[in-house]
Amino acid sequence: MIMMELFSHLATGFTAAVSPINLMLCFVGVLTGTLIGVLPGIGPLATIAMLLPITFGLEPLSGLIMLAGIYYGAQYGGSTTAILVNLPGESSSIVTCLDGHQMAKQGRAGVALSIAALGSLFAGIFSTGVIAMFGPVLANVANDFNSPEFFSLMLFGLVAAVIMARGSASKAAAMIFLGLLLSLVGLDNTANTFRYTFNLPALYEGVDIVAMSMGMIGLAEIIVVLEKKLAPAGVVATTIRNLWPRKDDFRAAWPASLRGTALGSVLGLLPGGGGVLSSFASYALEKRISKTPERFGEGAIEGLAGPESANNAGAQTSFIPMLTMGIPFNPIMALMMGAMLVHGITPGTAVMVRHPELFWGLVVSMLIGNFLLVLINLPLVGIWVRLLQVPYRYLFPSIVVFCCIGLYTVNFQTFDLIQLAIFTVFGYILNKLRCEPAPFLIAFILGPQMEENLRRSMALSRGDPSIFVTQPISLILLLMTLGLLILILFPKFRSNRERLFD
């Protein structure tokens, strides 16, 4: 019975995902993602921030398919450069460098690339299944939520964002408050008053999310890269032969890939989870359970297969909390949610019921995208490597120009560009002060709903705050939040956390 329902859902999704435009955008997304993953100095978060305007002109599903493709595509592209030139294109492939590049040095680059691609493919298929199975279950849980539960859930998400941010927890907390505060700019619907608009009509609808994220993440990152003077990538001359792994490679790789997939699928569901955390955790796991841990760092195939599967699985399952409950647990999901909100769709249970083709179409597109990625990546490896030699001084002016045009075409308002310039400077200053933009972004997205749910809860209880602890689900969520807070204050965990990020 349940299986029948699942198949009918998947059929709905399939119909939506294989329309020519959606297939094309899925391809464009994974291609862009691969490109971004290959190029160092531009991460998936910045790219998605910069490409948001494009998706506004599309149907919501088409836009989501493309953005999602960029995200998991970047996980693939990043590993290619990690293996061939020891340069992690983005942070989730840092551990891929360790053993993957060693294999390349031993003349087994082709095998390393194949293992990475097949591991990712397997993880992609498996975690798509996880989304299809568990998405509806979680959505059902959230179905019974009222304002107090939603408020507590958001509080949990924000405290988790503090934990997962690098560096000082108090600075991350301050960034949360700042993000919430900034999200209040504009019209307060309930009281019908304007807040923090400085009498500027352009601010009546609030701070522009595209200008804000483009500036704080995209352009600010460009300034940071420019002052570091990128050294040109020294490409290890590799003619790639022997793509196909040997039998014993397979025998060593597949259990690691299986473990990585399982680990990544679980970690992706947790706050702060996603590709980066999953790949680090999987590497640590493989090294710990290996009978020959000394081989790690010398080209151990398990140290490649595990993390490569884990990061892809984690990247995909991190969609579940956002799509089913409307809680983005990492900044990339926050941006995706922002894109949905711009389209007037609030992610959550209602989406699954009212727009099933949105959820299931996205799920099926991920499956298609994962196959496309293997096709794009393995045969075209040579092109990706050559791309590395494009100097940054050609790349970044192009990015600046495309950002300006993209942002301008959303509203045709020059004030949006002024906001972009201001947030670029602001983002750069925060970067210099080592304040992470991730918690800020998550808070900015959740802010208006948090205020709304707090207001409703308090109206419901006639001003009695104990409503949050007398409702059982809300109480559980608050206890979990408390647990996280204790973890932050607990010194041993803190040092572990710092070690994880080093």
């Binding site: 301050a174 002060l433 308090m458």
Partner: protein
């Protein structure tokens, strides 16, 4: 008294200032009560939390590990936003082609290893590319001139 962790001190100071602005403006909004929260309730609470956290960070910075501020490079910090502002000023009046030419050139100057000839070539290429893709292919209604 010597401030050891300059970075955290500045961050804390910045948060206190921003929280101060939040409260200063926010006190004009109706605070309301717990039962009927006004427009000022959430902003004032958040600003207060921001100030307190900022104070904590700044005070903690006085006696902690010694750090210095990272060097700030003025050139990209000025030129990248300047390119964006240039775009804002030019696009409504001078159209796509001229704007992209100038904006790309201004942005290109931000690179430490800028070379005028390739910068000009890049600006030209980007102008043609933008015209072809955004105006002709995607049909975005921005005047060409």
């Amino acid at each position: 008294m010597k401030i050891r962790n300059v970075e955290n001190f500045c961050a804390g100071f910045l948060f206190v200032i921003l929280g101060g602005i939040g409260i200063y403006i926010g006190r004009g909004y109706d605070f309301g009560s717990l039962t009927r929260m006004g427009s000022g309730f959430f902003p004032v609470i958040l600003s207060a939390a921001l100030i307190l956290t900022g104070l904590g960070i700044a005070v903690g910075a006085v006696n902690s590990e010694e750090t210095t501020l990272e060097r700030i490079s003025i050139r990209p910090l000025v030129l990248v936003p300047a390119a964006v502002i240039t775009f804002a000023l030019m696009i409504p009046r001078l159209g796509l082609v001229l704007t992209v030419l100038v904006v790309a050139a201004v942005a290109g100057l931000a690179s430490p290893d800028v070379d005028m000839r390739s910068n000009a070539l890049l600006a030209g290429a980007l102008a043609i590319f933008s015209l072809a893709v955004f105006r002709l292919a995607l049909g975005i209604p921005i005047p060409i001139w």
